[in-house]
Symmetry: C2
Subunit: 382 residues, 2 copies
């Protein structure tokens, strides 16, 4: 169980009855120390779910002892009772583990605007606390919504380990694409160092996975350090390993996008700045006409150029190259190789964009726009 | 024929063989004067099609004698030859009408990156110039792509008339949603006055029709005045009539979105500024999860709030009201009336958003995200 790959951590997943079906839907991850450093990043949506509001405050002092996560309800826009549910959940975890509720983070995923049944949550917490184990149990399965499989990853480095679990993102999750990630390490690092490393790693990975352009109210990525290895890595080295792990989890999220039939990698080069490269990649990733064309195996590069044209990046539309799965279909804004040479039948699609305006680059991951995406997202709540 | 409803104008539509099928695909609209004032607005995409590049220059002096429009090819990213095709087309119109090519605007719609066959265009221009008539002939049909019917509108005011034709917009037009509009009037107005009136009218109408968030390389709205009525209306009065006509055409464009099963009107009130209201409405209009939910007749108001949360508008997420087809499902960021009371089965859907932060408002029109949208836009070029 990768979220407990690092020493000092225990986890469990139990069925609390929060959603239809009998599977696990509540997970608990506990740091046994000796240190309890933590950092977290949250959705930039201004409409914040109750667990996000709670967790932002709880992590502010850099000390976290446990994270409790539930599927079956986002606990967002659920009125004043919704925040009380989060508070009571953290208190219950605190009591069960004999730690302060203020050192417990809460994460939720599911439908917005529906109350989360407190009694079931509290019962789940009690049972999860009794099931904690070094193998992590069903934790990585308990946080899934429409995901078809758990996502875990780990990295071993001399003297220490990093492990993590993830759910959601993009078309995976009709309930607004919530992404929940918990990463643990037995390295000995301060909360400040964890924060720097985590911000870099998420900026290069999850932030560049843009399946459907929709931003959740509940996204949360948490990093906990137990120090149980006694190893103090250089922050740069740790950041690199953490980034690798986050990229692996992001790839798994993209590959499990249920509605999708293509995993699209948009590689932007020749940009004046990294920000330009990201803006261009994201604009293409969010363009429904590009995404529908890829679904139809149609190398419609004109739509790629039209999407680039809506950005404020530095480029000349008549000096841009576009390559699709290795075939340069557009050179300096004019037709190059015939569309017919492009084979878009593989699931993996690479769109290369050379802005010919500088030396910077970035890669954005997305998926195609499919009938299954429309079906899944039109039939979720009813 | 509404594009010739005003005196002083003639038009024609002919089959030039630019696209498959035998229907008309080239239109010509001619101003016979006595004055030749004109104004135009163009796509804000930085990737501009060749006809847009030409027309921007040609209209700069405020004098236009004719507009030639074709379906069957956008003439965008078609290399140096593409611009020569536009130039030769304008020259051919100029020769046929005995006017300067510099007073001829060119509009195109269709696939990007495919050359437009010059010989067919020139032959079409010759035949269109010979078919010009006061009834306008097939002009409004010649500019259609996947539209199911022509869109025309006219307004009669004391002493003068305004008439127009339109194609495209949003899901109507898989070829990147190009919108082409030509409006004529026999009022006597200067180019400067036309420009002010047209910018106001388009800002309140076409700019607020956001079917799929994708911006074309070819959009062009042209307004021509012949002065043939001898009437000089007040500019405010003319602007009002013109805005009415543009709103009517925008409604027709929305209603004919072939892939769509719902026409969605997003009415934002209580905004601090009109800009805030437009930003919020547009964010909701472009949210694939909201649009897919409406397709599924699912009043998933949480997705509306999540879309609002991505904007920079002034509001408090926990003080927002959302109404769907008359049922207030969210009051001050908490659940209000049950979702089950909302009937989304009619084609017309009204989403009301009260930001409770000011007195300004705006309405954005969009459509739902459907299987047919995905199908139509994945199967266009191949």
């Amino acid at each position: 169980m990768s979220v407990t790959a690092a020493r000092g951590f225990e986890a469990a997943g139990v069925a609390a009855g929060l959603r239809s079906g009998s599977g696990p839907d509540l997970a608990l991850v506990v740091n046994r120390g000796p240190i309890f450093s933590a950092a977290a990043v949250f959705t930039s949506n201004r409409a914040l779910a109750n667990p996000v509001i709670w967790s932002k405050t709880a992590v502010a002092d850099g000390v976290v002892r446990a994270v409790v996560l539930n599927a079956g309800g986002a606990n967002c826009f659920t009125g004043a009772e919704g925040f009380q549910v989060v508070h009571a959940t953290a208190e219950a975890v605190g009591s069960a583990l004999d730690v302060s509720a203020g050192d417990v983070l809460v994460c939720s995923t599911g439908l917005i605007g529906e109350p989360l049944p407190l009694a079931k949550v509290l019962d789940g917490v009690t049972r999860a606390a009794k099931s904690l184990g070094r193998d992590g149990g069903e934790a990585s399965r308990a946080i899934l919504t429409t995901d078809s499989r758990p996502k875990t990853s780990s990295r071993l480095r001399p003297g220490y380990a990093i492990g993590g679990m993830a759910k959601g993102a993009g078309m995976l999750a009709p309930g607004l694409a919530t992404m929940l990630v918990v990463i643990t390490t037995d390295a000995e690092l301060s909360a400040a160092d964890l924060d720097v490393s985590l911000r870099h790693a998420t900026r290069m990975s999850f932030d560049r996975l843009d399946s459907d352009g929709c931003m959740s109210t509940n996204d949360q990525v948490t990093l906990l350090a137990s120090g149980a290895s006694g190893t103090r890595p250089h922050r740069e080295e740790f950041t690199q390993a953490l980034t690798e792990l986050c990229l692996d989890l992001a790839d798994q999220l993209q590959a499990d996008a249920e509605g999708a039939s293509h995993d699209i990698r948009i590689s932007v080069t020749g940009a004046r700045s990294e920000g330009d490269a990201v803006e261009v990649g994201r604009s293409v990733a969010r363009n429904n006409l590009v995404k529908a064309a890829i679904f139809g195996n149609d190398p419609n590069w004109g739509r790629v150029l039209a999407a680039i044209g809506t950005t404020s990046a530095t480029f000349d539309p008549y000096d841009v190259d576009v390559t699709m799965n290795g075939v340069r279909v557009c050179h300096q804004g004019a037709p190059d190789r015939p569309r017919a040479e492009v084979d878009l039948s593989p699931r993996k699609v690479l769109i290369g964009i050379d802005l010919r305006s500088g030396q910077e680059s970035a890669t954005i991951l997305t998926n195609d726009l499919t009938h299954d995406y429309v079906h899944e997202n039109s039939a979720y709540a009813t």
